[in-house]
Amino acid sequence: MSDGGLIVSLGRHGPLLALLALIVLNILITPNFLTLQTLNVNLTQVCTIVIVAVGMTLVIATGGIDLSVGSLMAIAGALAPMIFLGTLFTIGPVWLAVTVAILVALGATALLGAFNGWLIARFNIQPIVATLVLFIAGRGIAQVMTNGNLQVFKVPEFQFIGLGRMFGIPVQAILMLIFVVVAAWALRRTVFGRQVLAIGGNDRAAVLAGVPVARVKIAVYAISGFLAGIAGLIVVAINSASDANLVGLGIELDAIAAVAVGGTLLTGGRATVWGTLVGAFTIQIVRYTLLANGVPDAAAMVVKAAIIVAAVWLQQRGKRA
């Protein structure tokens, strides 16, 4: 992507400037902020949110929302260990078992995402209601699959995606960057991306222009499910354990917040994946700043909420201007 494209993607520079201001503030007040360790802590915590938020950006660009991402993370996180630990069936070599586990887990979450899209496109169910179905049922499914048990494992071949490094960079950060770059590019340069934005901008006009609205919506939710699956695998890989009660709990709100703070229009039609990346980092660093300076997590949540309100308020003003 060219520089011009990057700048266009960032839209108004508000979110980016806010992030830079936060970083400067931290350098001044937070001890040991400029260390590799701080970077690593923040990076591991933000990666899964960004990956989920990339899918959420596409969903919101069509004027929808996906509440089921956290539950889909739990399903992927429960399914993969069951396969590579041989709970379901035994597969010979470890690398094969891990490959199958990842493919099956991601296939399942992508399909469940497509199911969300199908409900929305075929039956005209409001996205918030349609995805609420799996938001509630999905975590239940994950718990039933594992009998509510914690699955503990030590499989380096699998945990590479959460703990491994390439060129000294955490693997999940590389994955995150790939998804961000591809999604940002696809949104601008592919037929699919334009159709996503057209549907969010004016779905009736899109239908009359021959845009395959149902197909695009199903695809968007399938992508969101797929990315949630990846995030779920990363979380369990980091923890060396899968707890269906906890994996991805509450991440839908973090993802939506990142999208909103990043400058994507919550009503659809205008979206920026780069903005979402910036938004996720902003929220992450705010939380880190507060924690590192001794503010309890509960209070940090209030600040997070305030930031979201401020972002949406700015968006509304921008729209009117």
Partner: protein
């Protein structure tokens, strides 16, 4: 009329921004009178009503209601003062009882609890006004639609109304439901209430209205007893034909339409969608502009939507190139080489957040792409070409379309379809809401395209446009195709005549 009028509005003026919506309009409604208010789109009917019911404030003018000056700040206040408005749809809760529905939002309390007995009595008394004796405790959903509708009307009118406004009350009702509504109107009149009835269906007006006020361009142009004005007069007054008559060419369709270009590209027979389109037949010949004339609500747009696959027919046959044609969605029609420029640019035409280029390429884009990736270079060339050939005034292909004027937006949408090199282009009100200069340019363009072999179906409420532009005109009236005029038969009196009186199957092809 000896009794003083219930409502008198005089010298009503209202501007929205720079647009004059009302320019000294007046309206007088007598006691116990059912008064028709008619006019074209944008004539000012709705604005008059919205000022009366407190949605808008008047700029100037005087309103007298029941002999006293009248001005309210909100619809609720208007209702309180005795003016009720009835909307098209039934907005009730089927699972709750009739009483609950009627008393929704105005529950009666005793000692802080709901006083069910009083509310049941209230509901019964209200319904008895409309000769409806039903068990008010039963859930609303178990009654027929007609009864439900009656209940909805009863709820809206309540006890205090002296004037009831019905704004196109029958547009979404079937014949039987409309019949119920007319009974209610007669009942109201018998009780001495007055009704303002807005509708485009002439037969309805003649069936139940006593007087009519005709508006045009924000002014009141005529007011008369229904029995004193014929349908033809009413329509021509509404369209303003007496003044503008025989003033030569009023549009940019300069040359008389070329000779018939040959066989039919498309034919439709006995089309029906069960509501707005009841029995429509027509044929479109290659390289010819065919016009659809008719009043609002005659079913012109709905017929075009059937052709384009935006809705599906219940009955009838369509043929394209001699083969059966049954598009299930717009994409099918587009694939068959049909384009559709909607009458409602804002709501279903433009994607406001997107650029001129993105909007123009929306339909063509999949064909321009390789492996799903948009070919930016080719796209830029095509867009630049259309911006030039259509004379679109914009800062460039990357300007947001919402920043353009109506006429330029319309040209972008035309470009969206022309880029596909269609065989058949449907233009629904192509020049509505755009300035005079752009209007002429678009008319010229359409004429040129037809001369180059494009088949055009043009729907227009501007009579000149259809009469001077089309080589063949089908007149629709209340969902029926009532006339098929070509060449020398396309004259204003003929078209008006068909719009007013046309019946039956004149147009079977």
């Amino acid at each position: 009329m000896a009794a003083p009028p219930l409502l008198t509005m005089t010298g009503m003026t209202k501007c929205f921004g720079g647009t004059v919506a009302l320019d000294g309009a007046s309206l007088q409604v007598g006691m116990g009178e059912v008064h028709a208010l008619v006019g074209q789109n944008g004539a000012g009917k709705s604005t008059m009503i919205k000022i009366l019911t407190g949605y808008h404030r008047k700029d100037q003018g005087e309103v007298l209601f029941a002999g006293a000056p009248f001005e309210v700040a909100s619809p609720g206040a208007a209702q309180h003062a005795g003016i009720s408005t009835i909307y098209q749809e039934i907005n009730l809760v089927p699972k709750q009882s009739v009483t609950e529905n009627i008393c929704l939002g105005r529950e009666m309390r005793r000692f802080g609890l709901l006083d069910w007995r009083a509310m049941h009595d209230e509901a019964r008394r209200l319904l008895s006004r409309f000769n409806l004796a039903i068990d008010v405790r039963s859930p609303l959903g178990q009654f027929s639609t007609a009864t439900q509708q009656m209940i909805a009307i009863a709820r809206a009118i309540g006890f205090s109304a002296r004037l009831v406004i019905m704004d196109e009350p029958t547009s979404s009702l079937d014949d039987r439901e409309a019949g119920v509504l007319f009974d209610v109107v007669r009942q109201l009149r018998a009780e001495g209430l007055s009704v303002i009835f807005v509708s485009h269906k002439l037969d309805e007006l003649y069936a139940i209205c006593d007087r009519v006020t005709i508006m045009r361009d924000g002014r009141t142009v005529h007011s008369a007893a229904m029995s004193e004005i014929g349908k033809l007069d009413l329509i021509s007054t509404m369209l303003g034909r007496e003044i503008a008559r025989t003033t030569g060419h009023a549009t940019a369709f300069a040359a008389p339409p070329a000779a018939a270009a040959g066989p039919a590209l498309f034919t439709a027979e006995g089309l029906s969608d069960g509501r707005h389109v009841r029995d429509v037949s027509f044929a479109l010949r290659k390289g010819e502009i065919t016009g659809f004339a008719g009043l609002l609500g005659a079913g012109r747009t709905e017929t075009a939507r059937l052709l384009f696959g935006a809705s599906r027919p219940l009955a009838g046959r369509m043929m394209l190139d001699g083969r059966a044609f049954a598009p299930r969605q717009p994409a099918d029609a587009i694939a068959a080489g049909i384009g559709f420029c909607t009458e409602d640019r804002k709501i279903e035409g433009i994607v406001p957040e997107m650029t001129v280029a993105e909007n123009m390429m929306l339909a063509l884009m999949p064909k321009l792409a390789r492996a799903g990736i948009v070919d930016e270079t080719r796209q830029k060339d095509i867009v630049a070409g259309f911006i030039k050939s259509l004379g679109i005034k914009c800062s460039g292909p990357d300007q947001k379309i919402r920043e353009l004027s109506g006429g330029n937006q319309q040209k972008v949408l035309l470009g969206r379809w022309l880029a596909l090199s269609p065989r058949l282009l449907i233009l629904d009100e192509p020049t509505r809401g755009i300035d005079v200069g752009a209007k002429a340019e678009i008319q010229k363009l359409v004429a040129r395209l037809a001369a180059e072999g494009l088949t055009v179906l043009m729907i227009s409420s501007e009579l000149e446009e259809v009469i001077e532009g089309a080589a063949r005109v089908f007149v629709l009236r209340e969902g029926l195709s009532v006339a098929d005029l070509s060449r020398s038969d396309i004259t204003e009196p003929n078209v008006l005549q068909a719009m007013a009186h046309g019946t039956g199957q004149a147009a079977h092809v």
